[in-house]
């Protein structure tokens, strides 16, 4: 797709999102609920992008992304509850803790075969959850931690509308950062190690170091998202971050289409929509998402994004057949 078209569409979308709180005023009291839902979606989208960078772009299976989100959320919550740190500091602290913790996975990842990595990352997510529950002197156990009214760089952002904009800005920043990364040396290295480790090494990419870096960046982003989530919800508890949560993020990346930022966001839209609407019927969202994942793998390997791109290509070919590169003579 034309770069300029994509850019204009993205800007239009951001403007629309920025205008949403104003539009929502029309529905009166319900707007608080919807502001929260969409803000939460923005946070999830950041996590989805972080997981896509790791799994979709760098090819590292990760079934424990919630572990990083939890580390970010809890770090922020603890610092805020005890020392009153503001949103930006808390978020960065959470991101850093998550990034550091990712070495636990990143370093072994350099030596492990694919399925082993999947199981180890699964274990990581479970371990973070268990430790959060058990270490109640630090984390409040199943009682959780309540945060103070959020303040960001001196500004009070304790209203639903203001937190909405915080989340939106965070998402936009995350998208820009990850997008820039993919357009430069490290982002290319991530894709290279996924496509062919041997060729990547032959081209000078230090494969092991790059894998670790992928984990660190992904964890940092997920941790930052966790930090924002802590302030958004005002409360963190272990049940927000279990294996179910990890599977949701996993579903977002798969359904949206791996290796693509719009794909991750699109996947987040679909999965979050299903999750929130089917939340009351036990098992329904899990069944639907599981079914969608299976269908995607079998029939739509590129996910939502791949399917849309294929349709666009077909329409393009139908309208304006260009010269296609063929084998000479």
């Amino acid at each position: 797709m034309n770069g300029a078209v994509v850019r204009s569409a993205a800007i239009a979308l951001v403007v629309l999102c920025a205008a949403l709180p104003i539009l929502l005023q029309a529905i009166g009291e319900r707007q608080v609920y919807w502001l929260f839902v969409v803000s939460e979606f923005y946070v999830f989208a950041i996590v989805a992008i972080s997981l896509d960078l790791l799994m979709g772009r760098s090819g590292q299976i990760s079934l424990g992304q919630s572990g990083f989100v939890a580390l970010g959320a809890y770090t922020t919550a603890i610092l805020n509850q005890r020392f009153g740190v503001d949103l930006v500091v808390g978020m960065l602290a959470g991101a850093s803790v998550a990034g550091l913790a990712s070495l636990v996975l990143g370093l072994p990842a350099t030596r492990l075969r694919g399925h082993y990595l999947g199981i180890v990352t699964l274990g990581f997510g479970i371990a973070v959850d268990q430790i959060a529950l058990k270490w109640d002197s630090l984390t409040g156990g199943d009682q959780g931690i309540h945060l103070h009214r959020p303040v960001a760089l001196g500004l009070d952002v304790g209203t639903p509308v203001r937190m909405y904009y915080v989340a939106l800005v965070a998402l936009v920043v995350a998208v820009l950062l990850v997008w820039s990364l993919t357009q430069t040396r490290i982002g290319r290295a991530f894709a290279a190690i996924k496509d062919s480790e041997i060729a990547a090494a032959a081209m000078g990419v230090p494969v092991a170091r790059t894998k670790v870096l992928a984990f660190i960046v992904s964890a940092f982003l997920a941790g930052a998202a966790g930090g924002i989530y802590a302030f958004l919800a005002g409360f963190v508890a272990p049940e927000d971050f279990g294996i179910d949560s990890s599977l949701l993020f996993f579903a977002m990346v798969v359904i949206g289409g791996m290796g693509s930022i719009p794909g991750a966001i699109g996947g987040a839209v679909v999965v979050d929509a299903i999750r929130t609407t089917a939340a009351t019927v036990s098992g329904l969202s899990l069944a639907i998402l599981g079914g969608m994942i299976v269908l995607v793998v079998l029939f739509f390997p590129g996910g939502l994004k791949g399917w849309l791109r294929a349709r666009a290509r077909r329409t393009a070919h139908a309208h304006a057949p260009k010269a296609v590169v063929t084998q000479d003579a």
Partner: protein, 292 residues
Amino acid sequence: MTQYLLQIALAGIAQGSLFALTALGLVMIYNASSVVNFAHGAMGMAATYVAYLLITKWQAPFALAFAGALVAAFVLGVVVQTLFLARLRHAPLMSQVVVTLGLFMLLEGLLGLAFGYNPRPMSESIAIKPVILGNLVLRPQDVLELALLLVLGLALAALFAATKVGLGMRAITENPYAAQLMGIPVGRVLAIAWGVGVMLSAVVAILAAPMTSVTPNMMDTIVVYGFVAAIVGGFGSMAGALAGGLILGVVVNMIDAFVAPELAMSIVFGLLLVVLYVKPDGLFGRVQVQKV
């Protein structure tokens, strides 16, 4: 003190048999089709619900329900392999992981929808007096688990060594293309491998259902330990899976007794990381070399 330790070790071996049986099923499926079945526990669990239905809706005797569950498990394994995995034989590793995870979610979700998440009682608890050996107490359940492990382990070994199907499976593991050229019906052999593998999972699920109830996520913990056991065992050798399972059972019970049950899985994973750091292919695994 030794008394206590022995009791724990015994309980550990009993629970370890469950892990070992799960690992055996996983390794069997992996050896035949090179797929790690993340839906393994869920599939066994689904088969157990068949037993549940047979007992509660049709008042079937336990043995018949058990048999019914095994048949259902076999069919499920065959169906999953032929309908879903067969298409992905040449797809990247990620796709196989993803599809079995999707199946896991689908199965748990469907069963949760159908039966809810509350534990369903399956039969009256069978009150058998525990066996007392010297100072050790053996619950009948433990004995049953160990016995089944032994019997099934030997049966599998026999399957692989002595039957045509078993031979076919081993051939496919070594070289699928050559196996096909030799006239081995790859599709059929894979289907059987999956069928038997899932049957093993069903056996574990039925043993594990605290003899009285089933829930959609009953196998989640066990299957995770099953994975760990399989990895420790090198994810290729059946003997390794067996050893890995038993060792893990003892370790978990030790942690339960001396540290904290709520941290058991975390500690196990920590230990797993250490093991894999020293031996990235598992304790009994063979080193894999990549060719260019």
